[in-house]
Symmetry: C2
Subunit: 333 residues, 2 copies
């Protein structure tokens, strides 16, 4: 009860050697009688193996690092939930790399991994440039990347076909007789922004819907504030009969603008979001949204990582999930 018990104290208390204590802890050979005494001693002293010493010896930290650009985004939150659900059944702890947004921070962070505080890394970079790609290449730690995998990087990857998602949105709009579709996107400089942009163009072509320079707005961020800020007036929105938004937050902002201007969301103008977050059920009208399976992506990423840490010789794997559309009131006539 006084000092922090070490394996040595436990050994003395149980009248055995440290080796025996270690064996009992790590579940190997020990005579039942011995084991019993050791366990008793452990219990009495309230002993817990020191993780630093263990890590140093075993060369493994039993920690996995999670590295996101924006902790605040609900989509990332869902990813995290999925990841932690898988990890809770493992021996690994989750360490959070607190908001690595700019390139410099990411670089510092990735290099910091060299200090060995994590056995694995799950990363979802919102932007990828030469430098980050280079860093990723030299990384010693088993890594799985969630999102768009840069060319030439050979690591495990789980992604979602967001283009397909936008196609589903456009298809749904076309089916319900909408003709003038706008797209409110996040920054084109980001990976999601790029993919969604291409997806929108392709989908509009596929369904032979007209598109012009006004059809797409790029916001400064994937947030409601950016939407309210970026979509100056409802007049812009009125030129269309349907708005696809790059995520649910943006959709919420757009809906707010519409409602504030007495436009009936659904009948007048359809709004579709992406991510299918909880937000969609709460909004009035409820939000039609493309489910990008964030939580599932998190789970799969964690599983891939566990497998790889278990067997480094595995070939790089690539899992691409298919989105689905959840139709609610905001796109109903």
């Amino acid at each position: 009860m006084g000092e922090k018990p070490t394996i040595g104290l436990v050994a003395k208390r149980a009248g055995v050697s440290v080796a025996s204590v270690s064996r009992v802890i790590n579940g190997t050979l020990a005579r039942p009688a011995t084991e019993k005494r050791v366990r008793a001693a452990i219990e009495e002293l309230g002993y817990h193996p020191n993780s630093a010493a263990r890590a140093l010896k075993v060369q493994a930290s039993e920690q996995i690092c999670l590295s996101f650009a924006d902790v605040g985004n609900p989509a990332y939150l869902a990813l995290t939930r999925g990841i932690s659900r898988v990890l809770r059944d493992s021996k690994y702890r989750l360490v959070l790399s607190t908001s690595v947004s700019n390139e410099k921070e990411i670089a510092q962070h990735l290099q910091g991994l060299g200090s060995g505080y994590a056995d694995g890394l799950i990363i979802s970079p919102i932007v990828t440039n030469e430098k980050i790609t280079g860093l990723l290449k030299e990384l010693r730690v088993p890594t799985v990347l969630i999102g768009t995998l840069p060319q030439g990087i050979k690591i495990d990857n789980v992604s979602i076909d967001s283009s397909k998602g936008i196609e589903m949105a456009v298809a749904h709009l076309k089916e319900t007789g909408r003709k003038k579709v706008a797209f409110v996107n996040g920054p084109l400089a980001t990976n999601p922004g790029k993919r969604r942009y291409k997806g929108f163009i392709a989908a509009m072509e596929k369904y032979k819907l007209k598109i012009n320079d006004d059809s797409i707005i790029f916001l400064s961020d994937f947030t409601s504030e950016a939407a309210i800020e970026g979509v100056k007036s409802a007049n812009f929105l009125k030129k269309f009969d349907s708005i696809i938004c790059a995520n649910d937050l943006i959709a919420a902002g757009v809906i707010k603008i519409l409602l504030d201007n007495k436009i009936i969301v659904g009948p007048d103008i359809a709004v579709i979001g992406m991510d299918n977050t909880e937000l969609g059920k709460i909004l009035s009208p409820s939000l039609t949204s493309i489910d990008l399976r964030a939580e599932q992506r998190g789970e799969i990423a964690a599983q891939l990582l566990l497998e790889r840490m278990n067997d480094a010789t595995l070939p790089p794997r690539k899992v691409e999930l298919k989105p689905s559309i959840v139709i609610r009131d905001s796109s109903q006539l």
Copy 2:
């Protein structure tokens, strides 16, 4: 480039002893010439000090553990943001204790801290019983608790006067002429549930507003789903001219029910939330909400913890923040 460089390799490369390398790294006495060569060697080899070895020697992990019941709640998210903002300027990493909801998990978790993987703990238990209180008492790690501090526990604590917040809500309603106030609360078994309950009763008395058995609903959870589930019909809500909700999520659920029943939120029935999350700005009408300063609580908690880890002799400190009310459209006539 081949193997993971150790301090020994760096020393050899620089033609000095490991001690000198260590000194350079830890920023102590070294002749400029020596320092320069060491730094060069570090650079060339891409050396990073091994954190496990360092932790073992220094008896400090440079990690802080964050322990919440529900990672999904936006209020906790704000806490986390505040915490990580403070921590990013320190040497500490943040490790997440993935959703410790039930008593058993919390117990396991707190005991696990004995293994020394964290130098400090920030915990916000949603329930506190005998067992958890006991565990908290025996905790060796510097800890700050966010929320209601159980009797007899002598640790740093940061809390928010949520009762005062509810009083502000009631005052605002009274001022604007509302008379029949309902309160949609979370589970009474939780700390926040208890405090809010008492606060509501007290506030209603103070402002001489009538209250009866129907005035309070207890939900199964602090979520929108629970609200939509628990508030069976709009008929219940129609009995009142104003609804105070235990958080913004619940408020969102209540607003949805009202809107779906063609009740004009604001003029017909006022709705007030708590937490003042981003959600409030997005909803239509925008949500009047009690700001519980979650992000600030997180920042303060982190600061208190850093101070305490720096000086264990500090007396237990208690910081109680005052809420404020943010009036938006949902409570306007």
